[in-house]
Amino acid sequence: MRIAAFDDGRIGIIGNDETVVEITDLLQAYEPLGPQDLLPDLITHFDELRPELERRVAAGGGRPLDGVRLHSPLTRPSKIVCLIGNYREGTDRPIQILDLFFKSPEGISGPGDTVVLPPHQANIFHHEAEIAVVIGREAKDFSEAEAMDAVFGYVVYNDVSARGLGRSGINSFLGKSFDTFAAFGPWIVTKDEISDPQSLSVTVDVNGERRQDYSTSDMERPIPELLTYISSVMTLHPGDVICCGTNHQGLGAMQDGDAVVTTVSGIGSFTIHVRDEHERAWQRGVDRAMAEQVRAGAQHPAAPRSGGSAS
């Protein structure tokens, strides 16, 4: 099943005829405090709601997808957990120690939205296409065998990244938490529709030019292992999202006027636009230096390590 947010606060199911059937009314029963509660409520009560959702989709009468305005299906997750470099990227290096950071959940953008580049003096703004996992239930300390029980579904993610900001020596990730820098779309696909999340194709096209193009089969730590580790650290909640990391081979600049299409096979595709009031210009095409740096084992591209400072 594909679940979308559309037309300012409505939730719908995508039918096979590429229409969207609104189900927002079903979620009012849970007395949401605001739009941010709709998706977590749908996820929490999905098993009991599913027969009615399926009945409505079968009944048809949805609105054509090209006649609605889709939004990020995640309105305001309680956590966005992002893996740091989790692909082999053509190397035969040993699997790296797992590490992660948190992205600001205020920074969400979605299909058709505009990512706004801030005036900060970044070296470059990169797109990072990823598959992301949407959590289905409150969970802590589960085993790898139980990990997929905690999954609700999948969504396409672009981890927009400003490079070169922040303090050297502390591996700054704040350049990923500007407002609008967490792009999710086009809808959530429930896990039953994805038979193998480790064999999906992930691509980014910027103004029609192919940049990233990789398979989730190259992940260093597959989804059940990631989730199990994260659940040993923190409690997960319905609607939390775990972003599985990107393959840096194929990253490139995002700049004023760009249309960036992010796609994961079996999930979907969405476009974000880029606006930069300062109209800064970077070289177009793939950032080869970054790609080489990561293949060479850079722990954190474009952020030199020096000294070292605790927080």
Partner: protein, 297 residues
Amino acid sequence: MRLVLTNDNRIGVQQDGGMVDVSSAFDDIRYRTSADRMPRVLASLQERRSRVEDLAASGERVPLPGLQAPVPRPPKLIAAFGNYREGSDRERQVQDMFLESPDSVIGPNGTVILPNHPATIFHHEAELALVIGQRSKNLPADERALEALAGYTCAIDVSARGLGRMGPSRIGKSFDTFTPLGPAIVTTDEVPDPQNLRVTMTINGELRQDYTTSDMEYSVVEVLAFITSYMTLVPGDVLLCGTNHQGLGALQDGDQAEMTIEGVGTLAVSVHDPQRREWPRGVDQEMAARQRAVGAS
């Protein structure tokens, strides 16, 4: 005014060891979980302030009941990287911050549980915490920024060292129970100068950290201006202003940890380690020396 959140989700104004229940000032604000409540209360506090003060002045004072963290699961939990001069005469470091798991928060008299992860040590970091009251973006680095604040509270940023690969790892600060917070949100009018507060941390009665917020590299208003140049802050967000690393030490099984910020409050928690690992007691002098050397020429 000192706002507290009781274990049964009542809003109180703390007074002289007791509390007056002022929940009725917020009766119309719906909530579903304790985590929902305080952000909504804080967002409405300015317009209800006189009603809350009337209730606090006229209501019955009761002994202070068990408290939750004043914001049990903040919308965002943001922490400043090393933000104190620590006795060095270095140039100010480049300002930087990171996000922690909001599920790491526990309240006064809670228990920090050390996880079965191979940390080299678990440190206490006593910090001044800012609690946001107004939705904010692009705040100026002057007194006007303080209008975004609901108030101040105490935080212990418990830190597991040596995890992850990209130190200092966010994982080590994001374990559940690793951010004790509270006991009260002390409104800004009660803290005339946030840059002149003494912060102390004791473990089993032994003084470890003892520093003043006058040593901050980037002041409270600069912290607010910087973070809002990146992201929108919302009511209930919590910002930790960084610690002074001179005086950090190990937390271990059975420890009673207590931090005090002069004029803000005292926050006490206990520590439990199911693995019963042991570290040297007292101040971690190696960590202290390393931090003094940061930025030294």
